[in-house]
């Protein structure tokens, strides 16, 4: 039986690494070691302490500073093009996610994977506001976020609610709100969509971001009463019964201010339905735990967590906490603690990149002092374009509002990250990091390069010994311990590769330590090893 009972005891290395991989983008040898000494409670509590961002907004290298909320606003010729600036916002988010010790950015990513937008629906500033909204609710109420997201400028424009008016409602947002963002398909009918669209008539964006939401301090859209359908909206009895079992009727607003009340009533109606909580928890389960939801998981995990969510104004922090502390999350709720969950998901390009950067201690150009290399060269061209787009990950720019197939497409889910068209980009990124060059290029610089020699020097207990070197490098990079066969493969076929013996290596390393010799040779051998580890099937999983 799957169980939400709290897991007790010290985590140990295997489970500490599992928790850090699934709940954050920040894994490192030191962090895994530190967390392995903690109890589950200590570890999860620590991850739930949200960290402030290191930089509160992105920089533009042309402008030499931030452009968002800068007064007076820089002229367009002072800064990079809008298209680039949007990529820099993504770059800023990625770099904050990389450095986030807490569950914060992973939760923002989770919320984003539901509340899909497209960067190009608005200006870079609108996109930034959207990300700040996710940040604001990263552990907060999903219900309240639903109201705020409906009024978010980028969302208003993305799903066309800016065009939704009383004379001829545009159903785009209404449909996706119910189908994708809150309830899931099959929990409403076409008349409900039409009624929902009417509730939403008249909400439109404020392009210059002058309307500030006092709850969040972030720019929001506005209510245009002239475009609002003032009639009462009746929803179906089947899907939206009121307390007496009658069809829910939402009273039409009497003025612009009352439109927010009407919207609130409508959101309440959605969140009064059992299905809404379950829909959100299933999404969370698939993001953090496993793609497989059996009837047992549904009754033992999904339903109790959904009940918690409902009972607590849909506040997601405590539900995440319960899940991450549960025996189930660690596969400790049945006789075999190694047959499910651990290592059972394919890493998204996001996890592949950020986990690798952190684990291998990639030195990334500083956003403030080396702005162009940080934003324009490394993150935009190297990461977002070469590592993500080529690997099928259109971050913040999915082709449909359903988002990334890895989080919704039955039956494959995360498997959709890995197919014959994404394999190349995934397997080319280690080469990029090792050589410090862009995808398949010998000339174009990536802006960052792994320093494997120093990494090994400071992280491996005894780099002279091949066996220790290989074992310790593989350790923690794979979700489960590699067997002797596999270690031999990496040691003999890849690292020594028939060209040197263990004794040769000890000598090569010794000469480096005493006289600084052999740097090129060492980097080559380590590069081969790290590359092979990173494009092994094991490293694709987390």
């Amino acid at each position: 039986m799957a169980s939400l009972n709290p897991k007790t005891g010290i985590l140990g290395k295997r489970l500490a690494a599992h928790l850090l991989r699934r709940a954050t983008f920040k894994i490192s040898k030191d962090r895994i070691t530190a967390f392995s000494q903690k109890t589950v409670t200590q570890a999860v509590d620590e991850l739930l302490v949200i960290q402030p961002n290191t930089l509160d907004r992105p920089y533009d290298f042309v402008l030499g500073g931030p452009w968002i909320n800068v007064v007076p606003e820089p002229l367009s010729e002072d800064k990079s093009s809008e298209g680039l600036l949007r990529q820099f916002v993504t770059a800023w988010w990625l770099d904050e996610a990389r450095q986030d010790d807490s569950v914060g950015h992973k939760m923002q990513y989770f919320l984003h994977s539901i509340w899909i937008i497209h960067t190009d629906s608005g200006r870079s500033e609108h996109f930034y506001d959207y990300l700040k909204l996710l940040e604001n609710y990263q552990l907060g109420s999903f219900r309240d976020l639903s109201v705020k997201m409906t009024l978010n400028n980028l969302m208003l424009r993305y799903l066309d609610n800016v065009f939704n008016n009383k004379n001829n409602p545009n159903e785009n947002y209404a449909r996706e709100l119910l189908e994708l963002f809150t309830m899931g398909e099959g929990n409403y009918n076409n008349d409900d969509i039409a009624a929902a669209a009417e509730v939403l008539t008249g909400f439109t964006w404020v392009y210059n971001r002058s309307n500030i939401d006092p709850d969040t301090n972030l720019p929001m859209g506005t209510a245009n009463f002239g475009n609002h359908a003032v009639n009462n909206k009746t929803f179906s009895q089947q899907y939206f019964p009121d307390a007496n079992g009658n069809p829910t009727v939402i009273t039409g607003a009497i003025d612009a201010a009352d439109m927010y009340r009407e919207l609130d009533d409508f959101i309440d109606m959605i969140f009064a339905q059992q299905e809404t909580g379950k829909y959100i928890v299933r999404k969370m389960y698939r993001m953090f735990v496993s793609k497989k939801i059996t009837p047992e998981i549904e009754s033992d995990i999904i339903e109790p967590l959904a009940a918690d969510l409902r009972a607590n104004n849909y506040t997601i922090g405590p539900v995440l906490e319960k899940l991450l502390k549960s025996e189930h999350f660690y596969d400790a709720d049945d006789s075999d603690s190694a047959d499910e969950i651990i290592g059972g998901l394919i890493r998204s390009p996001l996890e592949l990149a950020l986990h690798s950067f952190n684990y291998l201690e990639l030195d990334i150009p500083d956003p403030v002092t080396d702005t162009e290399n940080h934003y324009n060269i490394f993150y935009w061209r190297g990461v977002i374009y070469d590592m993500f787009l080529r690997a099928g990950f259109t971050i913040f720019r999915t082709s449909t509002p359903a988002g990334y197939p890895a989080y919704y497409q039955e039956p494959d889910y995360a498997r959709s990250w890995f197919n014959s068209s994404t394999i190349l980009a995934r397997y080319k990124s280690p080469e990029m990091l090792i050589k410090g060059r862009r995808y398949n290029s010998t000339n174009n610089l990536l802006g960052a390069q792994l320093d494997l020699l120093n990494y090994v020097d400071s992280n491996v207990s005894n780099p002279y010994a091949v066996y220790t070197l290989v074992t310790e490098l593989i350790d923690n990079m794979f979700p489960e311990i590699a067997d002797q066969d596999r270690l031999n493969y990496f040691m003999d076929d890849i690292f020594l590769a028939g060209t040197m013996t263990a004794g040769d290596w000890a000598m090569v390393w010794g000469e480096y330590k005493t006289s600084g010799l052999n740097v090129e040779e060492i980097n080559l051998a380590l590069g081969n090893l790290i590359e092979a580890i990173m494009y092994s099937p094991e490293y694709q999983l987390f």
């Binding site: 066309d160 065009f163 939704n164 004379n167 001829n168 409602p169 545009n170 159903e171 785009n172 449909r175 398909e185 076409n190 008349d191 039409a194 496993s290 497989k292 190694a338 047959d339 651990i342 290592g343 059972g344 394919i346 787009l389 080529r390 690997a391 099928g392 082709s399 449909t400 509002p401 359903a402 919704y408 497409q409 039955e410 039956p411 494959d412 959709s416 890995f418 197919n419 014959s420 068209s421 994404t422 394999i423 190349l424 397997y427 080319k428 398949n440 489960e480 067997d483 066969d485 596999r486 493969y489 076929d493 263990a502 004794g503 092979a532 494009y535 092994s536 099937p537 694709q540 999983l541």
Partner: protein
């Protein structure tokens, strides 16, 4: 009956197309006139599926001219004009009034395909209880499903099921008979659900964002050796999945590059410079290069035109107009290209979209999700014409949706194409889940190209594994080596070696993966390191992907009992670990001692021993390098001593 332009091009050997009141006869499969056909080339035919993503607005693709005033009143802002430079293109005045329609003015290419007798239009296509979610409806179109409870959640794609039937065991396993991926997908680097099959390999290779010409070189540079011991866990299953994708990608990579480089596009044809046309250009080149891939899937996105479907100033230009242009010009260029290359008799193109849009426009110069939309079938083998009438624009509910205007099920179209064009029999259609539509096929394939049942293409031959040899013999006094060779294999999932003491009751010993489908010879070898004493029997069993088992051969082996107890030590010299190999007739214990050259005891172990061969690892970590002395004594007094070299 009016004369139609396409009569001229489509009537073969004086045969008048069977048309009644403008609607081609449902089926002419039983017409004796068509019986004696030439089957040449049928098995080489392919289909190209064009997916219009987002829900194409059927009413601005084909304007119902018989109800133009109603159309204009439903769509005051976006109705395509009837006059002026940008007016719709009247498709064919010779059709009955109920089929008078106007193509979007951007679709000159489609107009000329129609005029040349290369296009069939199927009006008002959907499925029962249509769903208006993009994602659900797309899934339904790709899985062969519909809104009914039974067909709402089919886990596999219809293309995958079809290819599984026609090419059993070939998904991911190329050979000379079928060297190519069964399906190729372009334009979207997420794998299409349509190609999802029940077999462990995906039935299609996805070429999006990779240059087919250089595909092999890139693939060839990457990837490593597979994990040998895959655990039976979720982790293990995902490892298997990844290794399967790696395998089939690598197996096809060289071939795809070769085919692409061997093919070319016609110099006389200019494709629009657009990603959609580029996909078709690649398909044409792959076909020209000799690809035997059966189904190509290409895609054009952006049809979710809720907003600004057309410009305020001119309903004939804007987003939808651009899409119509790229669709029409891309397909036209593709058709011209394959014609110029001499492959027109091989290729049929079919367009589809997850749904149409509401007949009524919204306030944003756009249209919301609807139900029905037309499909287009294009190619030299097409029976040109129009199926069904314009939908009735007055039959609209108060949400602005058509009420019950579905005239065709999309599976009628695909069933017809798979059977009458690709020549697949009823059994194949059963496995594709299309049987219910066999009785409702449409006349989409011209008599010159229609596949008669006598020409139906069988699934690619499924020869059994041809075994050359199977041997079992003793090695190293106590191990049994099992070796066998195959000349070719088809559909071979794996072998199982079974062992028996009496030759009657066999127990599975080990499972060895097969090579799927291959024309190359393969040899296999495995060792039984723990055999029975005396005579025992080994049996080789072969298992197909579908679970079918064949007993291939049985061999007897006798292990001589040279002594009741023997001890060996290997490797020697050793580092980190060595193994004490003990063979015993009974359960016992061995006392193991390791002395250094000074005679000091370094390590002492008491080791349990079981019947048969025992491989007992001796950990040498922490034992510094040098020469040592090993002494092992059994409970019964058997002694063994040896020198052991420990090295770093």
């Amino acid at each position: 009956m009016d004369r139609r332009k396409f009569f001229k091009v489509s009537a073969p050997l004086g045969l008048t197309p069977l048309l009644i009141n403008g609607t081609p006869l449902k089926t002419f499969a039983n017409s004796d006139l068509l019986r004696a056909m030439d089957c040449t080339g049928v098995s080489e035919r392919v289909i190209v599926l064009v997916q219009l993503k987002g829900g194409n607005d059927g009413l601005n693709t084909l304007v119902p001219l018989d109800q133009y005033a109603t159309y204009q009143s439903l769509r005051p802002n976006i109705a395509l004009p009837s006059t002026g430079a940008n007016s719709y293109l009247t498709l064919d005045n010779t059709l009955p009034t109920a089929q008078h329609m106007g193509l979007h003015p951007s679709m000159q290419g489609f107009k000329s395909l129609y005029d040349d007798g290369l296009m069939s239009i199927i009006n008002a296509v959907a499925y029962n209880s249509p769903n208006r979610s993009h994602f659900k409806s797309t899934d339904l179109w790709l899985t062969g499903g519909d809104g009914s409870q039974t067909n709402y959640n089919i886990p596999t794609g219809w293309m995958g099921r079809y290819l599984d039937h026609m090419f059993p065991g070939y998904a991911g396993n190329p050979d000379t008979l079928m060297p190519d991926p069964l399906g190729i997908q372009l334009g979207d680097n997420q794998q299409s659900l349509g190609f999802h099959s029940a077999s462990e390999h995906a039935s299609a290779v996805n070429l999006s964002y990779a240059s087919p010409g250089g595909f092999y070189n890139l693939i060839n540079e990457i990837g490593g050796t597979h994990v040998a011991n895959v655990p039976n866990t979720e982790y293990g299953k995902e490892l298997e999945y990844i290794m399967n994708v790696e395998d089939s990608t690598a197996r096809y990579a060289q071939r795809i590059s070769d085919v692409f480089n061997a093919g070319s596009n016609s110099a006389a044809v200019t494709y629009p410079a657009h990603y959609f046309a580029n996909q078709l250009k690649t398909v044409a080149r792959l076909i020209d290069g000799g690809s035997k891939t059966k189904i190509f899937l290409v895609g054009l996105g952006g049809f979710d035109t809720h907003v600004e479907q057309s410009e305020l100033t001119d309903p004939a230009i804007g987003r939808h107009a651009d899409l119509m242009y790229y669709l029409s010009e891309g397909v036209k260029a593709f058709q011209d290209d394959i014609t110029a290359l001499g492959h027109a008799d091989k290729v049929m193109t079919v367009t589809f979209s997850e749904f149409g849009r509401k007949p009524i426009e919204n306030e944003s110069w756009g249209t919301d999700h609807g139900t029905i939309a037309p499909m287009f079938v294009i190619g030299k083998g097409v029976q040109p014409g129009v199926h069904g009438n314009n939908p009735d624009l007055t039959n609209v509910d108060n949400n602005g949706l058509f009420i019950d205007e579905i005239q065709h099920d999309y599976r009628q179209v695909f069933t017809t194409v798979l059977q009458d064009w690709l020549g697949s029999d009823d059994t194949a259609m059963g496995d594709t889940y299309f049987s219910p539509f066999l009785a409702q096929k449409l006349a989409l394939v011209s008599p010159t190209h229609f596949v008669d049942p006598s020409c139906y293409v069988p699934p690619l031959v499924n020869l059994p594994v041809s075994l050359v040899s199977f041997d079992a013999y003793v090695v190293d006094d106590y191990d049994v080596a099992l070796t066998w060779e195959t000349e070719s294999e088809i559909n071979n999932s794996h072998f199982v070696i079974e062992r028996s003491k009496d030759g009657v009751d066999f127990m599975a010993l080990v499972q060895i993966p097969g090579h799927g489908t291959t024309n190359q010879a393969h040899s296999y070898r495995t060792i039984d390191v723990n055999p029975f004493f005396g005579t025992s029997y080994y049996r080789l069993k072969q298992v197909d992907y579908d679970g079918k088992e064949t007993i291939e051969d049985i061999k007897a082996v006798t292990i001589e009992q040279s002594s009741e107890f023997s001890i060996k030590l290997f490797p020697n010299p050793a580092s980190k670990e060595t193994t004490l190999k003990v063979i015993s007739e009974g359960e016992s214990e061995v006392f193991f001692k390791l002395f250094n050259m000074g005679g000091q005891l370094v390590k002492e172990l008491t080791l349990p021993v079981f019947i048969g061969q025992n491989d007992i690892p001796i950990n040498l970590r922490g034992v510094s390098s040098g020469t040592y002395f090993v002494q092992a004594v059994s409970k019964k007094g058997h002694k063994f001593s040896s020198k052991l070299m420990v090295v770093d």
